[in-house]
Amino acid sequence: MSSATVEALPAHQPGNTEEMPAEHYLNDGKTVFSWLGTLDHKRIAILYMVVVLLMFLVGGTFALLVRLELLTPGPTIMDALTYNRMFTLHGVIMVFFFMIPAIPGIFGNFMLPLMLGAKDVAFPRLNLMSWYLYVLGAGLGIWGMINGGADTGWTFYTPYSSMTPTQILPVLMGAFVAGFSSILTGLNFIVTVHTMRAPGITWMKMPLFVWSIYATAVIQILGTPVIGLVMLLLTVEQVFGFGIFDPARGGDPVLYQHLFWFYSHPAVYIMVLPAMAVMSEVVSTMSRKNPYGYKMIAWSSLGIALVGFLAWGHHLFVSGQSTFDAGAFGVISMMVGVFTAIKVFNWTATLYKGSVTFTTPFAYFCGFLYFIVFGGMTGIAVASVSLDVHWHDTYFVVAHFHFIMVGATIMAFLAALHYWFPKMFGRMYPEGWGLVSAVLIIIGFNATFIPQFLLGNMGMPRRYYQYPEQFQALNVASTAGASLLAMGFLIIAIYLAISLKYGKVAGPNPWGSHGYEWLHTQSPPITHNFHGQPVYPQAPHDYTGPVEGEVTHAA
């Protein structure tokens, strides 16, 4: 190893009773303003974490209420309008305020500069503003939900959304404002990747997390303005009745669907690409092996971003699209599967002859692999026009996108939360409880959504308040699964909260990872991340030799 390396911090040795570092970003300033006015990307990440988790709690609670209502064929705990509001609330919050900002907002913000050897993101003030916009958007959305509450579903389809007696305007504005936040985050990340890389980090030496977050940012920048415009058009439609999407005035509701899905299909990749980003890191660290096919994993992220923009028509198979269009969109949608498969094969090949440590993040990686393969394969199935005509708007589709979009994202979110918890807070979580809750969550997720695949295939339409008797058994199974899921999350919340204060001190690199973010920083990092400017002569995730200064030990 060349002497150009800034002295790497010694790796953690198991069994040590270490002290937390005296100075780190968490204790650098204790006032409320030192948090709410912070420009430090790590503190902004924590701010994101607080609100994102809150949103997850709210969205999850409404999911549980929806599942409870569906426990019996008739009315169970709420009336039909309330039920419509509940699932709309669940969708809007989970999509716009949880899944889209979750991984980029928290882990992107925290890790990107650490992985690039930078002191901060390119535009720290824009970064803080982006958080405020997100909070404003989320606040507006929730306020709107309490006062009036939209009942259109998160897709706001016209013409119903311009006729509904409920108040969709505040919710629309909430999503609109949160969109700005998403754009600014994406812009910031792209510029950061271009300009803030430390000496030695060339494009082909960027950690795979960075590549995937970069691809995400491209989608955020190119897609989000269009949904912004759609929200504006809907607003105008609601308030002034311009008739853009109103057939009675010569408008075309299908145009709405096109514009909406032009963003909202790629939005799926705003959620899934960061998930893939996390997994590329976790799999390499936990198997102590260089990622198999680094370049393929990197380029396939951009491939997904590109192809993802050309696939939106698969939401319109039964909306009067021409047969040719439907076929073309179907084939392009399947190409997303090709790029995803490249990643899946590469991750799996990375494990081959690796030295796997079966930690909680790795358990989530296994869950992720399962959800992305199973969810992806059902995705190929619904991308086939003839099959989709049967499944369209049934629970099969609901189960499909929960598998691929939610399953994958949740797995990655939890993996990231556990994998980087020591880096962010300097302490370890209890591994045993981590594995228990991972098993609960993975089983709970399956128990929730496999019945929904079956229900959908049997013809149960989504979003219905009541259903025929013969569907009850599977609905009960689904609700039971959902409560298992909730239990898993509850356990995680409890032990992570305890670990924040009482967890074992982690040391700078408890995983013995060779990922850039672990190399030259303490845990938790100091406010300026590094002492001096680190350089990176080694490729990321390079396990062919020990990192300088590392004490070799069985991880």
Partner: protein, 233 residues
């Protein structure tokens, strides 16, 4: 390379500051999380271009809607297009192109250290923007009187073919959103002018002037597309 508050490795013209910090008149405020001031300038420009690309996509949604409805109602759209005031539209186009020239000149003058000339050019730009809005006001006013308005407000009896209210819906949406951008651009340029007068910019540091100018060019460019689509074809 830990920057000292007083000394900068890039010479006295480059003052190390915290992110978003200010430097004394005419000096370059080097935010030290960037490797060099050059990188910082590059980042600022690059960020602005990315932002402009989001603006382009925002308008792209409207252009797509225009294309769809023009395809559905070709005759009506041609007819309605004849109904707009071509001379006012043309004057406005010339006004905006002039303002783009003057803002470009303003950047040129700041770069060559002629802040007085730059201020003048920025003021001309702002006056052009005002003129544009005033003319737009008269155009709007005429439509309100005539009843050539979107959707359910359409009361004009001159064109009764299907799709006429849609043309005016798109007319008001595109020009309205554009006018909003004109107003935002004016605020940005007013801020820039204020700081040019205050002497904050110099041949060493003129990034905000340049970025403000870029934004204004975009506002202009959108109109360059709107003008033929609405008034000419």
């Amino acid at each position: 390379m830990q920057p000292d508050a007083n000394a900068s490795p890039f010479g006295p013209n480059y003052v190390p500051v915290a992110p978003g910090g200010r430097a004394p008149g005419g000096k370059y405020p080097w935010a030290t999380h960037f490797g060099t001031p050059n990188v910082q300038t590059y980042a600022a420009r690059f960020g602005m271009w990315l932002f402009l690309s989001t603006e382009v996509l925002l308008f792209a949604g409207l252009f797509v809607s225009y294309a769809v409805y023009r395809y559905l109602y070709p005759q009506t759209f041609a007819l309605c297009s004849r109904h707009l005031d071509l001379s006012l539209g043309t004057i406005n186009t010339l006004v905006l192109i002039t303002s783009s020239l003057t803002v470009a000149l303003a950047i040129h003058f700041v770069r060559t250290g002629k802040n007085g000339m730059a201020t003048g050019m920025l003021i001309v730009t702002l006056l052009c923007a005002c003129a544009f809005l005033v003319i737009k006001y008269f155009e709007y006013h005429h439509k309100f009187e005539q009843g050539t308005l979107p959707g359910r407000f359409y009361t004009y009896s001159g064109i009764q073919t299907e799709g006429a209210p849609m043309f005016f819906a798109l007319y008001f949406l595109t020009t309205g959103l554009h006018a909003l951008h004109v107003v935002v651009g004016m605020s940005v340029l007013t801020w820039v002018t204020y700081h040019v007068v205050k002497g904050r910019f110099s041949p060493v540091y003129y990034t905000p002037v340049e970025l403000g100018g870029l934004y204004w060019h975009l506002v202009d460019l959108v109109w360059i597309f709107l003008y033929p689509l609405l008034y000419l074809i």
